[in-house]
Each structure stands twice: as structure tokens, then as C-alpha cells.
């Protein structure tokens, strides 16, 4: 089973994403900020990260930059999910090394399909 780490400081959003992904048969883990996510990623292997931008302690940009600075994670796709719909925000996400950018709230099919696409796991 593929394992996805959801990184978001809003419990509601984590719950929403978790439900959607678990219903599709993914194993889901959560972290409340980039730092916690990094700590988790160092001990557990994940197949994909779903990352919020605006979080305390370590934001999403920084998290992805940290991720991409480490060999062991360089191949793990990361999807940014944020309410910011401006191009500068997505540009910055891609510059940091995010694979995809979804605008909150992501439609369930949008989220699951993009996760599946990147993991090469059709339904």
C-alpha cells in the first residue's frame, strides 16, 4: 500500500484529505508543520507528500526545499495544496521543487487522481 503524508496545520483540512485518500486505499499519515513532517519522513518512508504552504514553524516552501536537498527524498513527489490562487505562489512552489499545485479546497477526484497519476497507480 502506498503511504502518503499530509502536512497541514489545519486539522479540518487534514481530516478532509485523509478521508479522501483513505477511501481510495492509501495509507495516510499526518504532520502539523514542515518540521514535524521532516522528522517523520526521516524515520518512515512515504511515497508522496501533500503539503500546505502557510504553516507555523516550517512552511511548505521550506519543507519542500529541505526535501529536495536530501537524496533519500528526491524521488518522492510532492503536491502543494494551498488557498493561494495567484501564479506567484505556484511559481514559488515549483521553484522549491513541488511537482504539482492544487488550490484548496481540492475536489476529491482532483486530489485522488493527481496522487494516483503521480504514483502510477490507476484505480
Amino acid at each position: 500500500m502506498k503511504r502518503v503524508l499530509i502536512i497541514d496545520d489545519a486539522a479540518t483540512v487534514r481530516m478532509y484529505h485523509r478521508k479522501i485518500l483513505e477511501d481510495c486505499g492509501f495509507e495516510v499519515d499526518e504532520a502539523v508543520n514542515g518540521l514535524e513532517a521532516l522528522e517523520k519522513a526521516l524515520t518512515t518512508s512515504y511515497d508522496l507528500f501533500i503539503v500546505d504552504i502557510n504553516m507555523p514553524k516550517m512552511d511548505g516552501y521550506r519543507f519542500i526545499a529541505e526535501l529536495r536537498a536530501r537524496d533519500e527524498f528526491s524521488q518522492v513527489p510532492a503536491i502543494m495544496v494551498s488557498t493561494e490562487s495567484e501564479t506567484k505562489d505556484s511559481d514559488r512552489a515549483f521553484a522549491a521543487g513541488a511537482n504539482f499545485y492544487l488550490i484548496k479546497p481540492a475536489r476529491p477526484v482532483e486530489l485522488t487522481t493527481s496522487v494516483r497519476l503521480m504514483l502510477g497507480e490507476p484505480a
Binding site: 516550517m58 499545485y101 503521480m118 497507480e121
Partner: protein
């Protein structure tokens, strides 16, 4: 309520609190950038969360306006001031009221939505205020400028929720003069839809809608198709499956699995009105008739350039071409999913659709009929697929043309549905950005990994391997090419694309994407879309300054990839953890204790059937009785411990209700022009949840009184030799089994003379009483019902509901309230409340052969008084206890029971001494009985109006005990 909504409400309330305190902090220290960040994040997350619930769009809309304002503050475009704080606090008030609605399971009240809308306008005005007039037009123009770029993941539904939607729609509407929209064409395109559009096109532009009925819509009396067909000014309609059709055995015909896409020549308002019963299920996009963003919602549906050319010759508008391309692609999917059982019907339906399309495009449909025949004969969908290919490739008829054989190839790769194709393109577009410039190796690897995943998803594993290899070789250019050629298969011309499908061609790294895209013609269209994206991205990259520069500038300052410890310490200083929320958090220990006790209880309970069996056969009832008593002792101990453990769980710090005071004091003191400093202490003192909650209203009332009547305006304070700033101090602490809360101010105090005068005037006391009253007693008159002293009734307090309400609320929670005041020095109110009222300790008394309960917390003592020690002073019976005169009342008299009190054999009557306020009173009863811990249930309904009883309780033998409310009776 569903768990997600529940979570949303809980989390939102937490945010409200932190936002409110953040605003107050910021008001004190306007430059505190950390506080601004915190505040912004709170509002931002609140908005983000609410976006999950489209039905609360009004909520999102308003909070979004607040967020934008804060964003301006954060960027330094706007200075934080009291006006902003006022507006944002008001915003949070509305949010709070909205949350109440949501929690109650209701829709948002229309008045709230209106208030929200109004506030959003003023919030925006506030933001604009400092931006200056020049900012406004830029603001309006921005969306129009950005709109044609299909770059970012533009989601229509999100846009519609956004606060800018009105402005944006307008901007797009203005663009949307549809001069070349051809009336005939519009009609022909509508041939696939059921309703014909009006041939005359209003120049106001057109709107695309996507109506996705909820699965259970049929049970709600919805008729989605009927609704869609009757949409005003309908020019195009297609009905698509929402999810791929499941196998027939898994198919639920009662569940709606459709999404209906249509285009209307109508105004947004008209459409909104038409879909007013299903607003949450409809997304709308305003289309610019002659721009590439015609159906911006899904770029993948843009027509293949080839077919555009061909169809363009037939005088079709771009929208119609799009529609036609879309219809064709649907037919591919239909064919690809054909089951042997229903193949004939499917082929007939495909042929039917193609015929319609052909006739509307002026193409003869002989070949379609032939193909259908061929299909039926050969039992294969290929003939129809070939016709499709020809139509889609823009070769309209060509019955004799060499037929490409794409179906086999198409069927080998996975057929992607609309959503998948749309996302593939969006992800590809993301990778265009990701691979832009000179990405580091890790980014290349990540991109390759995701792209390879997508190829695997499409069923092309060798491509995936090739892409991975590109990543490993750090070949950025190669990867860029993969993205650009995703759908098109390299240099092969689009028209012949389907033929050239030799798997051997797919050799890395030159043509990694050589295989055909899953859906043939639309693939070409999609390729066009991607290429367009690439172009847009290139253009964006070429754009010199703002975006890219900003992105680079904003990159983390510290080099990424440092040790975790280093990062942690770097981040430590900024660490303000607000993740702690207000859900009742209980220590593991407390729960473990409960768990142990439950275990014991289960075991203890199991002894009872065994004892019952013994009792049946036993000849020794005394022995059995003893055993039962023993067992009772065990269960009783466990029950008591459980009760204690549960009460521990329910304990809440009183600080929970203190949190609202800073805000209250701020608002009111500003309104009254007074300067006030609020001090709070002992927020950690704990009491039962119910008690803490029952304290909230009385405390607010008291604090308001202090602000309104107690504290003087600065001039008056100065004249009295005090500092300008008044002080309110709220202190909480535990004293034995009570929690004490004191509220003190250093204001003018209560003038006993004025109170007396007022009481006289209202006839509450007589002259004689007024003369003998001490100052302290006079001041207590404020607790009397309907007493209000403010000369000028303000809107804050003093509407006649005064301290009497406070007192009764506190007494309801079995607490007491005391007031002391010193003229010119201030007032102090002391509230004492029990720690818990879950279980009430009750003393049972007997009178007139009936049992009654009296709450133990009122009982001072029980005494037996010899009949001769009772004296009558005037009509009042009294006795002297330890030198104090105690008035006596017979319970039978109070309850209007016509029986005299029964003394015991020694001629003594039983007197229950209770405390009423600061006075002891004796109640004569017949006898005292045991005291018990009981769960007190309030009286319901008509009985609830009986003030003389505070409730009932069930006794061990099943009888009901009426518990007296002696305060009322006396």
C-alpha cells in the same frame, strides 16, 4: 453533524479565540510582526477550512476579505489601527454567530450573510483606503490579464467562492463581446443537446456551466436533465458520466452518476436563478467567445488544431468546435468501455450521435450507417471507431480513404476519463514550471519520478522506465521534451499519429513518449493545450521582473538541507505553538484510572447473579444478607471512585471564560471613553464544566457594571485624586470545595444613600427600615429584583435586569454571591461556586409522614430544640441558638400542609438550620434522616414552574424524592 463539520466548528472556535487575542495584542504592539503573522495564519486557515464547505460561501467570502486586509497589513501596505481591529473583531463576531448556526445544524441565517456581505465591503474599503485610488483599476484589471494563462490550477468552483468573483466576472464580461459567434452555428451545436438555443445571441457573453447533481438527487425530487435542458439561452449541452460506468452488477441505477456540461447565452444572474435550488452543484465560468480560454475549466477540451481547421471551414464558432471535439471524444470512451452484453445498443447510440453531429456539420451520414452495419456484422466496434477517427481527424467523409487502425492501440493503453486527462495536463503544466531554468538534480529526479508515475498510470511501463532514466541522467532538456510531447508522440504529425504506434519506437531517450495518447484525437487537442502552456510558461519566464524575481527573493534564506537539529534551533525562536486547541484534553492517567475502575465494576457486578442463586436455595437469610451487604460495599467503593474520576475529567479551568474579558473591556471602555486596565489572575483554578459555563453570563454582567457604573471617566478620576486609568481585577482561586471568583474595581463605589433613596422611591423598603439599615445592608439592595440605579440608562447595562439576574444565575449553580463596596474606593463582588454539581449531597427529612430532600450545602446544622425554648416575637416563632436569635418556620406551613410539627418523645422539635444569604433560618421538621449523594434532575414542563422544588431524585428503593428549594419557599 458529520465529523468533518464538527472538526471544522471546533477548530474554527479555537481560531476565533487566537484571532481575537492576536488582534488585542497587535493593538497594544502594532509593530509586532510575529503577532501579525500568527493572526494572518489564523484568518487564512479559517478561510481555507471554510472553503471545504461550499454551502457556507458567505462565511468564506467575508473571512477572505478579512484575510486580504490582514495581508495588506502584513505587507506594510496598511497600518494596523483601531478601526481595522474593530472591523476584524466584528468579523469574528459574525463568524462566531455563523458557527452557532452551523453547529445547530442550520443554514447560515440570511441576516448573518447580509451582515457578512456588508462587512466584507467595508473590509475591502479599509484595505483600499490606504492603497490609494490608483490601486483600484489595477485590481480590476489583474484577473483579466491573468485569465488567459491556463498555468495555475484554476478551479472554477474555488474562484466562485473567492471574494473577488464579482469583480472578476465583470472584468471578463467586458471582454466578452462575442462578435463572431455565429447564430446558425450556435443552433447546430445545440443539436446534441435537447433544448434548442435562441438563435439571436445577446452580446453579453456566454456562460459555461457544469452541473454535477449529487448522487442522491433523484430521491430529492430533482430532475437534473430537465433542469439543464431548460436552462435559459441554452446553446450546448452534453451529459457525461461523472465516474466511469461501473460493471452492470455494481451499477446502481438510483444513483446519479452524471455531470452535465452546457453553455448558455444568458447572464450569470439568470443562470444562478435557474439553478437556485442546486447552487452548490453548479459551477459557472464566463466564457470569452473568441479567446482561447473558451472553456477554461478544462483546457483538455480545446479542439485539435487539425479539426479546428476543417470545422472552421464550415462556419462553426470555436465553442461549437470545442463541443464537437468533446462529443467525439466521449464516443471513443463509450466505445472503449463496451461490454459484449450491451455492445449493440452502444454502437447504435454512438452511430446516432455521430449522425447528429454529421448532419449538423453538413456531412453525409452514409458511412456512419455502413459502419454501424459492419459493427453489427463483425461484432466489433472498430468500424465505428474508424469513422470517429476520420471525423475527428478532420476528414469528414472519405469512405474509401485508408482506414487507420487506432482502436487496438487505444485500447492497449488505458483510456483516461475527463478528470484524469484534465489533471494530466495540469500536472504537465506544473512540470513545465518545475523544470524551468536549471533545476537541481533532486528536482529533476522528483519530476522524473512523477512523470514516470503518470506513464505507468497510462499503462506504458517502458516509457516510465525511460523517463526515470532521463531523471537519473539529470537530463533536464530531455524531461522538458517529455512534457512538451506528452500527448503527441514526438515529431510525428498529428494526423497520422494513431498509425505510428510501433512500440519499438518508444526507445529512450529520444522519443520517450512515442506511443499514442489514450484518446486519440483529443490527445492532439491536449497536446495543443500543453504546448500552449509551454508557450505561456516561456512567456512568463521571459517576463522580466516581478514574479520570478519575487519567487527567488522569497526562497528560504538559510541553505536547505542542514541537520534537523540545526533547523530546529533555527526555527525555535519563532516557535509559537497554537496547535493546542480547546477540545477537552484529558491526561492518559485519568482515563487509565477510569478504565481500571470499569474493570473492577464488571467483576463486582458478576458476583450478584451468583448471590441471587445462593439466596434461592439458602436456608440462612442472614448469611446471604451479609454477603449482599459486603458486595454492596465493594460496588459502592468503585462507584464513588468512578464518580470522582469522572469529575476530574470534567474539570475545566475557569480561564476558559476569562478569555473573553480583554475584548469586552476593550470594546466597552472605548465606547465609554474610559481608560481601563484589566488584570486577571488564577485562570488555572478548575471547576466542573457546567459550573464554569454557568459563570460566563453573570461575570460578563458584573464586568459591564463595573465599566459602566463603577469606573469613572478620566476627568472625574483625576478630580478624585486617582490615576486616569481605572483598574478591574478578576481573581479566581479554590477554597476548600468551592471555587471563588472575585471581581473588583477601583471606581466610585456604590453610594448607600442613593440606594436607600431609590429603594424608598420604589417602595421596596419603608422609612423605618431605611433608617435602621446599615450601609452594608443598603448596598445589598442592588440584588433585589428590578433594582437599577443608573440615572441614565445606557445600552450597556442598567436596563432593569441587574444584579438580581446575576444572583439567581449563580444560585442556580448552587453558588453564592457577596458584594462589598466602599464609596469612592471601589466595589468588590465575590462569587463562590461548588466545584461540581454533577452529584448533589442531599439530606432527607421527614414531615407530615412524607420524605423531602434538602441540599446539604445549605444546611448549617441540625438541632433538637425543646418546645419551651421556642418563643413568639410578634407572629414570628424564634429560638436562640448560641446567643443568636434564629427565626423559625414550620415546613408544613411553608408547604401548606395542615399538620402541626411532631415533637419526639422528649418534647423536642427537629430544627434544620439553613443559611440564607448571611442569615441563619430554622426550619421545623418532624425528623431527620440519612444524607445521600444523588443525581438531581430538574422538574420538567408544568412542574418546572413549581419554584419550591429544585428537582427530584430517584432513591435506591425506586421511590421519588422531592428536593426542596428552601430559598424559594422562604
Amino acid at each position: 453533524m458529520n465529523p468533518l463539520l464538527e472538526q471544522f466548528v471546533i477548530e474554527s472556535r479555537d481560531f476565533l479565540e487566537s484571532i481575537a487575542s492576536g488582534l488585542l495584542t497587535l493593538e497594544r504592539e502594532p509593530g509586532n510582526s510575529e503577532a501579525i503573522d500568527e493572526l494572518f495564519r489564523g484568518v487564512h486557515t479559517l478561510k481555507g477550512n471554510s472553503g471545504l464547505f461550499p454551502e457556507y460561501a458567505a462565511f468564506t467570502h467575508m473571512v477572505h476579505a478579512g484575510e486580504d486586509l490582514l495581508d495588506a497589513v502584513r505587507d506594510g501596505r496598511r497600518n494596523f489601527d483601531a478601526e481595522i481591529a474593530d472591523h476584524l473583531l466584528e468579523c469574528m463576531d459574525i463568524v462566531s454567530a455563523m458557527l452557532d448556526c452551523i453547529e445547530a445544524g442550520n443554514e447560515l441565517a440570511p441576516t448573518l450573510c447580509d451582515a457578512g456581505k456588508e462587512l466584507a465591503v467595508s473590509l475591502r474599503a479599509l484595505r483600499e483606503g490606504s492603497l490609494g485610488a490608483a490601486a483600484a483599476p489595477v485590481e480590476a484589471a489583474a484577473p483579466a490579464e491573468e485569465a488567459p494563462e491556463p498555468v495555475a490550477a484554476e478551479d472554477v468552483s474555488v474562484e466562485a467562492l473567492g471574494a473577488d468573483d464579482v469583480a472578476e466576472t465583470k472584468a471578463q464580461d467586458n471582454q466578452t463581446a462575442s462578435p463572431d459567434a455565429d447564430a446558425d452555428g450556435a443552433q447546430s451545436a445545440s443539436s446534441t443537446g435537447a433544448g434548442g438555443g435562441d438563435a439571436s445571441l445577446p452580446s453579453g457573453g456566454s456562460i459555461q456551466f457544469r452541473y454535477t447533481p449529487e448522487p442522491a438527487c433523484f430521491f430529492k425530487g430533482d430532475d437534473p436533465l430537465f433542469t439543464a435542458i431548460n436552462a435559459p439561452g441554452l446553446v450546448h449541452l452534453s451529459v457525461l458520466p461523472l465516474q466511469p460506468w461501473p460493471d452492470s452488477d455494481a451499477f446502481d441505477p438510483y444513483e446519479c452518476n452524471l455531470t452535465i456540461v452546457g453553455a448558455c447565452e444568458a447572464t450569470r444572474e439568470e443562470l444562478e436563478h435557474h439553478f437556485r435550488y442546486v447552487p452548490d452543484q453548479v459551477e459557472m465560468t464566463t466564457m470569452a467567445a473568441n479567446s482561447g480560454q473558451a472553456i477554461a475549466a478544462d483546457a483538455v477540451h480545446e479542439p485539435d488544431p487539425q479539426s479546428v481547421d476543417t470545422l472552421a471551414g464550415r462556419g462553426l464558432s470555436e465553442e461549437e468546435e470545442v463541443a464537437a471535439g468533446r462529443i467525439l471524444r466521449c464516443q471513443y470512451e463509450v466505445l472503449a468501455r463496451t461490454n459484449p452484453e450491451n455492445s449493440e445498443g452502444v454502437w447504435r447510440s454512438v452511430a446516432f450521435v455521430l449522425r447528429g453531429l454529421a448532419s449538423s456539420h453538413g456531412i453525409a451520414h452514409g458511412s456512419i450507417d455502413e459502419a454501424l452495419e459492419a459493427c453489427l456484422k463483425t461484432d466489433s466496434g472498430d468500424p465505428l471507431a474508424r469513422v470517429l477517427d476520420r471525423m475527428a481527424a478532420g476528414t469528414p467523409h472519405g469512405g474509401e480513404a485508408p482506414a487507420p487502425a487506432p482502436r487496438s492501440a487505444v485500447l492497449r493503453a488505458r483510456v483516461l476519463n475527463d478528470d484524469e486527462l484534465e489533471l494530466v495536463d495540469r500536472i504537465l503544466a506544473s512540470h513545465v514550471h518545475m523544470l524551468d531554468g536549471e533545476p537541481v538534480a533532486a528536482v529533476l529526479l522528483a519530476a522524473a519520478s512523477a512523470l514516470a508515475g503518470m506513464r505507468r498510470y497510462e499503462g506504458r511501463v517502458d516509457d516510465a522506465t525511460a523517463i526515470q532514466a532521463l531523471g537519473a541522467a539529470k537530463d533536464a532538456a530531455g524531461l522538458r521534451q517529455v512534457v512538451a510531447n506528452w500527448h503527441s508522440g514526438g515529431a510525428l504529425p498529428a494526423a497520422t499519429l494513431p498509425v505510428a504506434t510501433a512500440p519499438a519506437a518508444a526507445k529512450p531517450p529520444a522519443t520517450p513518449a512515442a506511443r499514442p495518447a489514450p484518446a486519440v484525437t483529443p490527445a492532439a487537442a491536449a497536446a495543443a493545450a500543453v504546448q500552449k502552456t509551454v508557450a505561456a510558461a516561456t512567456a512568463a519566464a521571459a517576463r522580466p521582473a516581478a514574479n520570478a524575481g519575487a519567487a527567488v527573493a522569497e526562497r528560504p534564506t538559510a541553505p536547505a538541507g542542514g541537520g534537523l537539529e540545526a533547523i530546529r534551533s533555527e526555527l525555535a525562536e519563532a516557535a509559537i505553538d497554537h496547535s493546542a486547541n480547546r477540545v477537552l484534553k484529558v491526561s492518559q492517567e485519568k482515563i487509565d484510572r477510569l478504565m481500571d475502575l470499569i474493570g473492577e465494576m464488571v467483576v463486582a457486578k458478576n458476583a450478584l447473579p451468583y448471590l441471587a442463586a445462593r439466596a434461592e436455595v439458602s436456608t440462612n437469610p442472614r448469611e446471604i444478607a451479609r454477603e449482599i451487604k459486603n458486595q454492596y460495599g465493594v460496588i459502592n467503593r468503585i462507584a464513588e471512585e468512578m464518580q470522582d474520576a469522572i469529575m476530574q475529567v470534567r474539570m475545566l479551568p475557569v480561564g476558559n471564560i476569562f478569555q473573553r474579558f480583554p475584548r469586552l473591556v476593550r470594546d466597552i471602555s472605548r465606547k465609554l471613553g474610559k481608560q481601563v486596565e484589566l488584570y486577571m489572575e488564577g485562570e488555572d483554578a478548575e471547576a466542573d464544566k457546567n459550573i464554569v459555563e454557568s459563570l460566563a453570563d453573570p461575570l460578563i454582567h458584573i464586568v459591564r457594571n463595573s465599566l459602566d457604573h463603577g469606573l469613572e471617566p478620566p476627568e472625574e478620576r483625576r478630580a478624585a485624586g486617582k490615576s486616569d486609568t481605572g483598574i478591574i481585577r478578576i481573581t479566581a482561586f479554590q477554597e476548600a470545595d468551592r471555587v471563588i471568583i472575585e471581581i473588583g474595581d477601583d471606581g466610585r463605589g456604590i453610594d448607600p444613600a442613593r440606594i436607600k433613596a431609590k429603594a424608598l422611591e420604589r417602595g421596596m423598603i419603608d422609612e423605618a427600615r431605611a433608617a435602621t439599615m446599615t450601609d452594608h445592608e443598603a448596598v445589598q439592595l442592588v440584588f433585589a429584583a428590578g433594582f437599577s440605579t443608573a440615572e441614565q440608562i445606557s445600552d450597556l447595562s442598567g436596563r432593569g435586569v441587574g444584579m438580581d439576574v446575576v444572583r439567581s444565575a449563580i444560585e442556580k449553580a448552587h453558588g453564592s454571591v457577596q458584594l462589598s463596596s466602599e464609596l469612592g474606593r471601589g466595589t468588590r463582588i465575590r462569587i463562590a461556586l461548588p466545584l461540581s454539581m454533577a452529584v448533589t449531597n442531599v439530606m432527607i427529612i421527614r414531615s407530615a409522614e412524607q420524605m423531602f430532600g434538602v441540599q446539604m450545602d445549605m444546611v448549617v446544622e441540625t438541632v433538637r430544640v425543646p418546645a419551651k425554648a421556642i418563643h413568639a416575637i410578634k407572629q414570628q416563632r424564634t429560638t436562640v441558638l448560641r446567643g443568636r436569635i434564629v427565626p423559625l418556620y414550620a415546613l408544613n406551613d411553608l408547604l401548606r400542609i395542615p399538620e402541626p410539627p411532631v415533637p419526639n418523645e422528649e418534647g423536642e422539635v427537629a430544627v434544620l438550620v439553613i443559611r440564607l444569604g448571611e442569615q441563619d433560618v430554622g426550619v421545623i421538621v418532624d425528623d431527620f434522616d440519612a444524607t445521600l449523594d444523588l443525581i438531581l434532575k430538574p422538574l420538567d414542563g408544568v412542574l418546572g414552574e413549581l419554584g419550591g422544588y429544585s428537582g427530584t431524585a430517584l432513591l435506591g428503593d425506586g421511590s421519588v424524592l422531592m428536593v426542596l428549594n428552601l430559598k424559594e419557599l422562604l
